[in-house]
C-alpha cells in the first residue's frame, strides 16, 4: 500500500464527488411520483425504454453504448 497513491486516489474521488454534486444541484429534480404506491416506480419499464441510449431510431441519434 502506498500512502501517496492513496492520497492521489482520495483527491481524485473527492473532486469527482464535488463535480457530480454540482451537476446534480444544477438540474431540476425529476417530477415526484404521483402514485402513492412506491413499488409502482420499480416496474414501470416504459419510461426507461424511451431513455435507452440505444434508441437511436426515434431520436435520430446514434446508439450511444
Amino acid at each position: 500500500m502506498n500512502k501517496k497513491n492513496r492520497f492521489i486516489m482520495g483527491a481524485a474521488l473527492g473532486l469527482a464527488t464535488i463535480a457530480v454534486a454540482i451537476d446534480h444541484t444544477q438540474h431540476r429534480l425529476p417530477d415526484p411520483v404521483e402514485s402513492g404506491y412506491e413499488g409502482a416506480t420499480i416496474i414501470e419499464d416504459g419510461e426507461e425504454e424511451s431513455q435507452s441510449p440505444c434508441s437511436m431510431d426515434s431520436g435520430g441519434s446514434p446508439c450511444s453504448m
Binding site: R6, H27, G39, M65
Partner: protein
C-alpha cells in the same frame, strides 16, 4: 487456493468501512431522489466491479497474452462469456417470452466501426485497459489509470463531436442476426462460430505451449466464503457473475450493459460547464444524448453503473488488501496513458461501444457490428502490442515477458 495464502490477506479495514458507508449512502440517496430502480442499477454496478476485480477479468491482458505467447486462458474465458450471454440474450431479444423484452445493442456496420474499433484496440494496449478494465483498475487505485480514464473522457467527447461525419462514411447500416434469421437459427449459427473460434484459439495455445490451463477449477475451494469475500476468484466465477448480472442489466434496463456513453456525457458536461456550446453539436442536439445532457448525471443509468463499478472494485481491492498498489508513474507511462486514453475514447464513440457495449453486448444480442468490432479491435490490439515492444514496455516476442 490454500488456506495459507488466504491467511496472508490483510484487508484495508478503513477503506472497506468508508466504501461500505458510501455504498449505503449513495443507494439511499438515489432511491430518495429517483427511485428504487436507480439504486438497483448502482448496486448491479457494484457487483460488476467486485466481479471484475476479484476475478481479474480483463480483456486487454487476455488479448496481449494471446498475441504475445498464445496463452489463451483470458481469450477463452471471453468466448465462454459471450456464449453464455448469447444463450440468455437471444431468446429475450428475439421475443421468445411474451412477458419480458430486451433490445439489441445494434450498431451501424461500416467505416466508423472499422476505424473506431481498430483505434480502440491500439488504445487498449497503450492505455492499459478497455472500457471495463479502465473502470475497475481506477477503482483498485492504480494512479496511472486516472490519466487513462481522463483522456478516455476527452477522446469520447471529441468522438461525439466528429461522429456525424464518420457516420456519413460508407456503411451498410445495422444488421441484426435475430431479425434476419430468427432467434433460434441465429443462435445456433453464432454458437457454432464461437465453438469453432474457441477450438481454434485452444489449438494455437496447445501447439505453442504444452500445458494449457483449464477454465474450470481442478480443485475445490478450501474456504468458499473467505475466497468469495477476499478473492482471488477463479476465472469461471467471473464468467458466472458477468453473465448473471449482464442478464439482470438487460432485464432491468431493456438493453445490454454499456459503459462508454457515460464517458462522452461526462466530458460534454465538463466542456459545457467550462463554457463550451455542446448542445449545438449534432450528437448532443437530440434524442437520448440531449436528454442526458440536460439532466443530472445521476439520472443516467450508464453513469450510475460506472460509478458502481469503480466503487465495487475499490471494495474488492480493499478486501483483498490490494488497494492503491505501490508504484510510481514514469514519463513514458504518462505518454501511453494519454495517447491510449484518447484512442480508447475516440474509438469507442466511433465504434458504437467498447469491449462491453459492442463486443459483449453487441455479439450477445445478435448485432453483426459486434463481430466487425472484434476483428478490427483485435487487429488494433496486435498493432498496440507491437508498439509496446517498440517503446520497450514489453520485451520482444519470444523472450520472457
Amino acid at each position: 487456493m490454500t488456506e495459507a495464502v488466504i491467511k496472508k490477506i490483510r484487508p484495508d479495514k478503513l477503506v472497506v468501512l468508508l466504501v461500505l458507508f458510501s455504498i449505503l449512502a449513495i443507494s439511499l440517496f438515489l432511491q430518495s431522489e429517483f427511485n428504487v430502480k436507480q439504486s438497483l442499477f448502482f448496486l448491479v454496478g457494484i457487483i460488476f466491479g467486485i466481479t471484475l476485480m476479484h476475478a481479474m477479468f480483463g480483456f486487454t491482458g487476455g488479448w496481449r497474452m494471446f498475441i504475445r505467447s498464445r496463452h489463451s486462458l483470458g481469450v477463452r474465458a471471453q468466448i465462454i462469456l459471450i456464449i453464455c450471454s448469447s444463450l440468455l440474450f437471444f431468446p429475450i431479444v428475439g421475443g421468445a417470452f411474451s412477458e419480458i423484452s430486451g433490445y439489441a445493442a445494434l450498431g451501424q456496420i461500416g467505416t466508423s466501426v472499422l476505424v473506431g474499433a481498430f483505434l480502440f484496440g491500439i488504445g487498449m494496449q497503450l492505455g492499459g485497459g478497455c472500457g471495463s478494465g479502465t473502470l475497475f483498475t481506477v477503482g483498485q487505485g492504480q494512479t496511472d489509470m486516472l490519466i487513462t480514464i481522463s483522456f478516455f473522457i476527452v477522446g469520447a467527447t471529441l468522438g461525439s463531436y466528429h461522429l456525424p461525419w464518420w457516420l456519413s462514411m460508407p456503411n451498410i447500416g445495422k444488421v441484426s442476426l435475430i431479425t434476419e434469421l430468427g432467434w433460434l437459427p441465429a443462435l445456433l449459427l453464432q454458437l457454432a462460430v464461437l465453438v469453432v473460434l474457441y477450438r481454434f484459439v485452444f489449438s494455437l495455445d496447445k501447439k505453442r505451449n504444452n500445458n494449457v490451463p483449464n477454465l474450470l477449477p481442478t480443485q475445490k475451494s478450501e474456504n468458499f466464503l473467505e475466497q468469495l469475500i477476499h478473492g482471488p476468484w477463479p476465472i469461471w466465477w467471473g464468467i458466472v457473475g458477468l453473465t448473471v448480472f449482464g442478464l439482470v442489466t438487460l432485464l432491468m434496463a431493456g438493453y445490454p450493459w454499456s459503459i462508454t456513453f457515460a464517458f462522452g456525457l461526462w466530458g460534454a458536461k465538463i466542456w459545457s460547464a467550462l463554457g463550451g456550446d455542446v448542445a449545438s453539436w449534432t450528437y448532443w442536439a437530440g434524442g437520448y444524448p440531449a436528454k442526458a445532457l440536460n439532466q443530472s448525471v445521476l439520472a443516467d443509468i450508464t453513469s450510475i453503473m460506472n460509478f458502481g463499478i469503480i466503487i465495487g472494485a475499490t471494495l474488492a481491492a480493499a478486501l483483498a488488501g490490494k488497494y492503491a498498489p505501490e508504484g510510481t508513474i514514469k514519463p513514458k507511462r504518462v505518454l501511453t496513458a494519454v495517447i491510449g486514453g484518447l484512442l480508447l475514447g475516440y474509438g469507442a464513440r466511433l465504434a458504437f461501444g467498447c469491449n462491453i457495449g459492442a463486443l459483449l453486448g453487441g455479439i450477445s444480442s445478435g448485432s453483426l457490428h459486434g463481430w466487425l468490432w472484434l476483428v478490427a479491435a483485435f487487429t488494433g490490439g496486435i498493432v498496440g502490442v507491437k508498439i509496446r515492444v517498440w517503446m520497450k514496455f514489453d520485451k520482444p516476442y519470444g523472450s520472457a515477458s
